[in-house]
Amino acid sequence: MRVFRIISKELKCIKEDISFNLVTILSPLLFLFAFWLMLSGGIMLPVQVYPDTQSSDFLKTMESYQAPDGTPYMELQPAAEAVPPTNAESNLIVIDQEPSFKNGEITGNIVHYINDVNENMTKNFRNRLDGALVSYIDSLRNGGNVIIAETTVYEQDIPWDTGFGVSVFVFGLVLSGLLFGMLSMTSEWENKTTKLLKLSPYPAGITVTGKIIANIIKCFVSGLIFLMIFFLIFKALPVHALPFSLSLFLVYGIFVCAGMCIGIYIKSTLTAFLISLATALTLWVGGGGFGPLSYFGDIANALGSINPATYAIEVVRWCYFNGNVDLAAGFTFLSISFIAAFSLILVIYTRWVRSEEVR
């Protein structure tokens, strides 16, 4: 009964600071919107070419060189002349001598003007040009070609923006867990009601459990709003509802407990918010939020292996897209993390209510 009263009190407290609760829901949505915009261009890159595509068979191949889902790798923009671009918008590819097959030889000369200081963009342009070249060589020759028979984990490549949207959802899980957990403690400091918690004759575990349940309810509401907007944008729903709900419960539970720990020590809502935002961003990016950890170095992978967000991203992605994920390991890690986080807040809270308040 006492737990229900705590839950009821925590839920009523939403009215105290509606704007804060609203922005806790809005923040992940803003990130979703931003990253959706940033990735809306997909994998296609604009590139200048000379001459125009009609004058070169190779450029026609380049124009139609595409990923299996039909997305072209390059958007060809005809350049006015074959001179090094001084203020160009993109790299310039000049067909100096059209690649062609004559007398058993394939000859040609292409000049690629690199017009971006970022090494990553140089890599991207070079990869696409070389890929188009292989495709063109394959079309010119009758033999000697290496054909690649692909077998992929997912039936189709997961669209970058949809996959990233699911990843941002996990960021939202982490952030809302931390923020709601933190707010449930900092509000006690700011309302000067910490004394009441300390004077309560009930066991600390009951108060902690009530607060955690109330915060998880708030998190689920914020998650539901995110999922509705996510569905409206990407028309994607989780295909494994039960594991999805379980993973949400565990992730919310872990980060609500962590947020409450932060709230006990930090006291100031603003400072705790910033720490929560920075922590959520760190765990999310470090857990593979920006892309699979296999892209990154050994340190990032080592840190990722002890990061709950890593497992949360894997499990939630599986709930949406299937794939070969070690579900047992994911749920085991999340469950252990939840138990550890719950034990931690229980110990910290118990010690805190028993301690003297020094002002």
Binding site: P85, E105, I110, N115, N118, D157, W160
Partner: protein, 375 residues
């Protein structure tokens, strides 16, 4: 002037008494910097298991070609070979320890020697379209090299001409943007935090008792906020120097104008939001999250010159885009106009426009919410 001096003195006392107002500008950008250093600053070769069942020598040649291609990004090979037999390779793949498996069949060499086409199996994780694109194109780099090595009749040359001053590591480009973020967050959070302290101390109502105009107190708040932003940016610059070797102090004269204008815009933005929302925590969450998102959209991690449609329109409408481009231009001695996209004069006009608009709005809201109302 008297109000300005008194206000500045008061804010400085508040600032000294509780330096936590520096927390936002230090913690958030430093963590972002370290996270980006670990991810975008630390690209490694993707792990690929290669199973060679070829009876001839072409399989080994293909293996050499695939694993010897060097990426311009970080100058690492695209792929790191994991030597394994067929079963082990697929075990590793199932455990996620390799990104893909290439299987070269036993007739690979024979097919090529007989003038036929041949095939290889490529098993990989198409986690998303970007990852799948990379895994496909990296393998194609190896195949192009294989064609060149094995076919003397293939005489297609690709000449790469560097048309920019230099090539920079991706993380270095991002780090300079994090420096800007540190300045903005540090300045904004100082403004919000000191407001919050005054709310706690119940001193904000005293403005209503003031017989003088209070606009100069707003000016003092802006000066104090920019001072705090300078401290947080300086601390961040030390981390950037440690991580990248770039000494941003050398470029201060060229960076100061865009930093100042952007700082003023964002501080005024914080003032408007905090006074309109009423809840200091809510305003802080909203302004900080908005600033980080606008930072991402303004080309912090990827150049906006490849953006299209609405993303490009939004990026072009954000003042950071122009300021960041000018700061990068200064630090890396490169074209600040991003290939002519962001004209220098237009950029300054847009930034100045934002500064004036936010200033007018902030002065209005500040006066309406805090100043004495007569009648």
């Amino acid at each position: 002037m008297r109000v300005f001096t008194a206000e500045l003195k008061k804010l400085f006392i508040l600032f000294k008494a509780d330096p936590k107002s520096l927390v936002a500008g230090i913690i958030a950008p430093t963590i972002i910097l370290i996270v980006f250093a670990l991810t975008f600053g630390n690209f490694t070769a993707l792990k690929l298991a290669f199973v060679n069942e070829d009876r001839g020598t072409y399989g080994t040649t293909l293996e050499t070609s695939i694993f010897s291609q060097i990426s311009p990004l970080g100058q690492n090979p695209y792929f790191e070979e994991v030597e394994a037999d067929y079963d082990t390779a697929f075990d590793l793949y199932a455990q996620g320890k390799v990104n893909g498996v290439v299987v070269v069949g036993e007739n690979f060499s024979a097919d090529l020697q007989n003038g036929k086409n041949t095939s290889i199996e490529y098993h990989f994780n198409n986690y998303n379209t970007d990852m799948a694109k990379n895994l496909r194109l990296y393998l194609t780099e190896g195949i192009l090299d294989f064609y060149r090595v094995t076919d003397p009749n293939l005489q297609i040359e690709v000449e790469e001409v560097l048309n920019v001053e230099t090539q920079l590591h991706w993380f270095d480009i991002i780090a300079v943007a994090v420096f800007l973020l540190a300045f903005l967050l540090g300045a904004m959070f100082n403004m919000l935090y000191l407001f919050s302290k005054e709310k706690t101390y119940d001193t904000l109502y005293e403005y209503r008792l003031s017989p003088n105009s209070i606009w100069s107190s707003l000016l003092a708040r802006v000066v104090m906020a920019l001072f705090a932003g300078t401290i947080t940016a300086a601390i961040n610059a030390v981390f950037i120097w440690l991580l990248t070797g770039i000494n941003l102090a050398l470029f201060i004269p060229g960076m100061i104008a865009p930093l100042l204008v952007l700082g003023i815009i964002y501080v005024f933005f914080a003032v408007i939001v905090v006074l309109l929302v009423g809840s200091f925590s809510g305003a802080a969450v909203f302004t900080m999250a908005t600033t980080i998102i606008l930072w991402f959209l303004s080309g912090a991690t990827a150049s906006i010159k490849y953006a299209t449609g609405i993303l490009k329109a939004i990026a072009m409408a954000i003042p950071n885009t122009y300021g960041l481009s000018q700061i990068r231009g200064e630090v890396f001695a490169m074209d600040p106009s991003v290939g002519g996209l962001l004209g220098f004069t237009e950029g300054w006009l847009i930034m100045a426009g934002y500064m004036i608009l936010t200033m007018i709005a902030a002065v209005y809201v500040y006066r309406k919410k805090l100043a004495r109302m007569v009648g």
